[in-house]
Amino acid sequence: MAQNQFYKEISDAIVNLEKEKAIELANRAVNENMNLLDVIEKGYGDGIRRIGNLWEEGEFFLPELMLGGTIMQESMDILLPKLKSSGENIALGTIVIATIEGDIHSIGKTIVGTMLSANGFEVYDLGADIPAEHIIDTAIEKNADVIGVSALLTTTMFGQKKIIDILENKGIRNKFKVIIGGAPVTKSWTEECKADGFASSAVEAVKLVKELLNK
């Protein structure tokens, strides 16, 4: 019961965007040798999921989402090294994410990367204006589960299709789930370029990746 109270305290610190408290609780969990998998899942994970819900309800907006994501990340920076040293691998999956070549818009993609990372995925954010070939090479190198490609411009969206075309040509389409996003991306475009899914917000992106990887 006391432990559940501790998890709730963590979750509340995340939702209330209390950075110092979230970090203090992470340090306490490490110092007191708590079950860190439970701390992450029932404490921090619960908090970030509540932030996602508040976004969907129109209670939280970009600043809260971004702040929550970065507090979560900083807490993870304390918890993960300890977990890894004890041989646990808690990453839910590996994701390579980028804004496609010709498109310099990075905010949306960065927010998606932050939220995926905050939700326990290992994220390689390559930045903006990245050639399709480089995205794919990195995905192969990092043995990624998911490739995420963002495009804000209607003129650069076809780069998302190019990723899938290249994967097909190389015969490795089935090795990766490919998700796409960005203001102009729709369901019909997702179907047309044969992507595995699209999301219209960072919160939806997290749900989508979890669904695709059955997490």
Binding site: T70, D103, H105
Partner: protein, 297 residues
């Protein structure tokens, strides 16, 4: 001076609905601009296209059109590493629109967002915004009749843009935010409520308060209803033509029938909006149809 009075006269004339232009970006893309290219660079590289688009809007009956300077603030140009061309990009934009503007119509300076967000989303400060918009506005101030600050998703950035323009110009200002519809009503993506945005814009002393982009024409009807309840200022509305789709040539198109858009616009006018136009996906054809509606009122 004459034209500044003209816009104020239009605002005072209850029977006048001011017809603004439609989308610039989507018209440029129809003409095959390269991916990732900043549309504002066309002011220098292909001014003929920009002139033709302005002319098409004026010919369709627009009372006023805006310069192709949406992305030509200092900070945004810096992102594209062309900030050293800020003068030329803005000056050439003016040349194209001046050439296209018939007598007794107006030229509007278009000021779009800097692309840089404030913390915790980005790193921009209000001082950086003010400086960036002032640098752009200095190149436009003499050649235009009024200002349109648009598609702002942060009321703090809007305030910075208004402050910048008021520091160098006394010409009328239309300030237009972009809102998304949430379960709790209309908010900016940064979490500013309608009420908060309106109060700040009123206090900043702008002439017309508006909304553009993000919302399609049907949602814009709902937004204008809300705005009418909370402000007496003249209102401006420039909605999108629905949401974009992609054709077999990988080009974006908007498939909302013009008649549906125009039918919503008719309702927006009846609700009391003063300045009417379109944003992404609207074309000179759309503006021509709205002209007919206005003339029939």
């Amino acid at each position: 001076m004459v034209n500044i009075m003209k816009f104020h006269d239009w605002l005072k004339d209850d029977s006048k609905i001011v017809l603004f232009d439609g989308g610039m970006g989507s018209e440029i893309f129809k003409r095959g601009i390269k991916p990732g290219k900043l549309p504002d660079m066309l002011n220098i590289e292909n001014p003929k296209i920009i002139y033709e688009i302005h002319k098409a809007y004026y010919d369709a009956g627009a009372d006023m059109c805006q310069s192709n300077t949406f992305g030509a603030s200092f900070l945004n140009l810096q992102t594209y590493k062309v900030e050293n061309q800020i003068r030329e990009i803005n000056k050439q934009a003016l040349e194209s629109i001046k050439k296209a503007c018939p007598p007794n119509r107006l030229i509007v300076a278009d000021i779009g967002p800097s692309g840089e967000f404030r913390p915790p989303v980005g790193k921009a400060t209000p001082d950086q915004w003010v400086s960036s918009f002032t640098k752009q506005a200095n190149h436009l101030a003499d050649g235009v009749d009024l200002w349109h600050i648009e598609t702002m998703s942060d009321i703090e950035e809007m305030s910075a843009a208004i402050e910048a323009i008021k520091s160098i110009s006394e010409k009328p200002i239309i300030s237009s935010m972009t809102y998304k519809k949430t379960k709790r009503g209309f908010y900016t993506i940064m979490g500013d409520s309608l009420e908060k945005c309106i109060r700040i814009q009123e206090n900043a002393g702008v002439d017309v308060i508006g909304a553009n982009c993000t919302l399609g024409s049907d949602e814009m009807v709902d937004l204008i209803k809300e705005l009418k309840k909370i402000t007496d200022r003249p209102l401006s509305a420039k909605p999108n033509a629905g949401q974009p789709r992609i054709d077999s040539n990988n080009r974006a198109y908007y498939d909302q029938p013009i008649k549906d858009f125009v039918s919503d616009i008719r309702e927006i006018i009846q609700l009391g909006a003063k300045v009417i136009g379109g944003c992404c996906g609207t074309s000179p054809d759309t503006i021509g149809e709205i002209r007919k509606v206005i003339d029939s009122l």
